[in-house]
Symmetry: C2
Subunit: 432 residues, 2 copies
């Protein structure tokens, strides 16, 4: 872990620099996979699945029988945990529903916005070593709340052609019926272009490796929306002397185990805490199953001593972390000063894991500094807000002259004329 | 205008196809401009401004003197019109403010979302033949409402080095003080990377020609957010026999005059209306100042006869227009069935021009079919919504076991441990 003591402001950009993401070396390969899927549909999917997932499939669809069998393979404890998480996520996201509010900007000029579900969405859920069924809750629950008509889930099969039962069970629980055994860039291609089995969607959600991420980026240039641009997962902790070093160390490690490129930064005004945490990390690390991954991530992690918490806040706002834990005495007050972050965890009893799984907030969040301008996934991500306006004759009579004047000044005669011709008709009284 | 009579559903995709946008021919040039700006800052901006705008500048900044002089160059009528538009836009967008609502998903698990302004934004306003000061209102008013700290406006100078006074006046009116005389891809580069004079921003808004659009797309790959992917402007009108053909023709022309690539589609269940509109378009076209542009756009426009309005609605939802006028007897009922559109204009007295300028809704809208998944610009575009969560000891005790179970099932031990270590401390009672 790299240690910085009261670094000069001028050095912050360098200290806070993220690794450069360079996908150029495999862009050609990903583009080729996409083109193959576009040209050959299901055939290409079967082929790539055999090649990359070492699974030979007869069909891409998960059957009703497979779905029905999934529940029996999960412990009751796990099913109850998933139920609790689902309920909390539902509770938090249902509160994001917005009523239609008609605004009468002038008498007879009525304007409103209406949230309308995106009709067809695709969810990508990575398989492999860790089946991320929690992400199905994070995407499937708001999609169902929004009322998306068609929800398609793609996930890579295991070599024996099966899908992890936790994935199938969770998908069933949130009402997803269209599940396909296809992963990688080829799954993104299928969702973007459609194949014989898989319908084309309007927006693609979900995490994935560098190939999946790049594929999402490439299809987004062709008009398919995506949830968020993606980078490695990140955590910043701002902690003072009141924090428990064991908890802080555990939180840092929970982020570090995500991947060797995870970003982990601890900022504190207490050098004692920093050194305690450094020791505690080593202690806790030894027993982790993903120790090797966490160790690599820790090599690039940073411990930063700052003169006071206000400076710490400035520094973290400049970094714009995906996850931010405020483990300080006045955490709730500090939270008000957070400007750039995806999700914020307040106090000693709010580990990042809570939001990753079950507190109710969404865990699909902006990484790589995107928190400066992007929000995490929410109910909003599954709808578009269409604006409506209805003018009465009186409304147009009040507003019309201003429109004519502005259109004329912008030298758009036909824009002006669309109003003038109506005002003339009203003046002539030939229109009822 | 191309005429289609009750086209078969299978032919819809072809009839509704948009022109392919291919920017590959000038991608290299735009990329070079961006790299020059990144490497040489202001120097490059002066150079490109001399080259492309034929303006030799001493300074990029618009001075206080220039700002102060602008008002005197506008008629009182235009100033009043801009004021009215500003007031309506403000009225509609202020209603989009959201209060923070804390959701207690479980006792002791408090979660909320907070809208926080994007700190630094850039607005691009095209100059040239038509100074689009209306776009300054559409972007500047919600930016001010959101509380963006730094708002930078770039607009190309005229050959004499001046900027259209309507642009300066409107910018001043919405409180924008940082205005720079730079246009094209070089302006986008300046906003994305920063130069000696122009600060780097987090998000770039605003319309532009194909170079500007491509530059926005290219910098968005480097982590700068942009408002919307852009394509040519579009209008669909669904009209029945009750519509006034003169109004419909005027509305079609108001879209057609935008540019030769504008998309204009009229859908109706009345062949009489379609033929009347076709004639009326020719009549009105003759007197337009932008007649040549409109004529070119009309060549690709479509008149589509459908058996009934329900079919018309299906067809337009499939197209997903930027602007949609419903000029039918039951327009308000039909509006409820609109699934894909940017902004909808209801009835005989709601021309698109109303929304373009002054009704209060935003005119920065999704084109090119993006309306299937994207919303137009709104207050939301100028904020990110940060989620917060605060667990009490009791909250963690209720939620903790579910998190542990799920983390274990996803094979993320360290995620589990961040909870376990806290629950153990609580059990041992060593923590106050």
């Amino acid at each position: 872990m790299l240690y910085y003591e009261n670094p000069l402001r001028a050095s912050w950009p360098e200290i806070l620099a993220r690794p450069v993401l360079d996908s150029r070396s495999f862009e050609m390969q990903v583009q080729q996979i996409l083109e193959e899927v576009r040209a050959h549909g299901d055939d290409a999917l079967f082929r790539f699945t055999a090649q990359f997932d070492r699974a030979t499939l007869d069909r891409l669809t998960v059957t009703e029988t497979e779905m029905a069998a999934a529940a029996g393979k999960l412990t009751d404890e796990l099913k109850a945990a998933i139920e609790m998480a689902k309920s909390n996520i539902n509770c938090f996201h249902v509160a994001q529903k917005q009523e239609i509010a008609v605004v009468e900007t002038l008498p007879g000029v009525r304007c409103w916005r209406k949230s309308v579900a995106i009709e067809r969405i695709g969810l990508y859920i990575p398989g492999g070593s860790a089946p991320l069924f929690s992400t199905i809750l994070m995407l499937g629950v708001p999609a169902a709340l929004a009322g998306c008509k068609e929800i398609i889930l793609c996930t890579p099969p295991r070599p024996d052609g099966s899908v992890d039962p936790a994935i199938l069970y969770t998908a069933g629980l949130v009402g997803i019926r269209n599940i396909f055994k296809v992963g990688g860039a080829q799954a993104i291609g299928a969702l973007a272009f459609g194949t014989e089995s898989i319908g084309r969607v309007d927006k693609i959600f979900g995490p994935g490796n560098a190939y999946v991420t790049l594929a999402k980026q490439l299809v987004s240039k062709e008009g398919i929306a995506i949830d968020l641009p993606a980078g490695p997962s990140e955590l910043v902790i701002l902690a003072d002397a009141s924090a428990d070093a064991r908890f802080v160390a555990a939180d840092l490690l929970s982020q570090a185990e995500h991947g060797p490129d995870s970003q982990v930064i601890l900022v504190s005004d207490s050098s004692e805490l920093l050194s305690e945490v450094r020791n505690e990390v080593q202690v806790q690390l030894t027993v982790l199953s993903r120790k090797n991954i966490a160790e690599q991530a820790l090599k690039n992690s940073r411990l930063i001593l700052v003169q006071n918490l206000a400076t710490g806040l400035e520094l973290l706002n400049q970094y714009a972390p995906e996850h931010l834990i405020l483990n300080c005495e006045n955490a709730i007050l500090l939270a008000e000063k957070v400007v750039n972050a995806g999700s914020v965890f307040i106090g000693n009893w709010s580990p990042e894991s809570a939001g990753d799984y079950a507190s109710g907030t969404n865990h699909t969040l902006p990484t790589y500094g995107y928190a400066r301008a992007y929000s995490g996934v929410s109910l909003d991500s599954f709808v578009k807000k269409i604006t409506f306006q209805e003018l009465s004759k009186e409304g147009l009579q009040s507003l019309g002259p201003a429109i004519e004047t502005m259109a004329a000044a912008e030298q758009l005669d036909a824009h002006k004329n669309a109003v003038s011709i109506r005002l003339a008709a009203l003046r002539e009284g030939v229109i009822s």
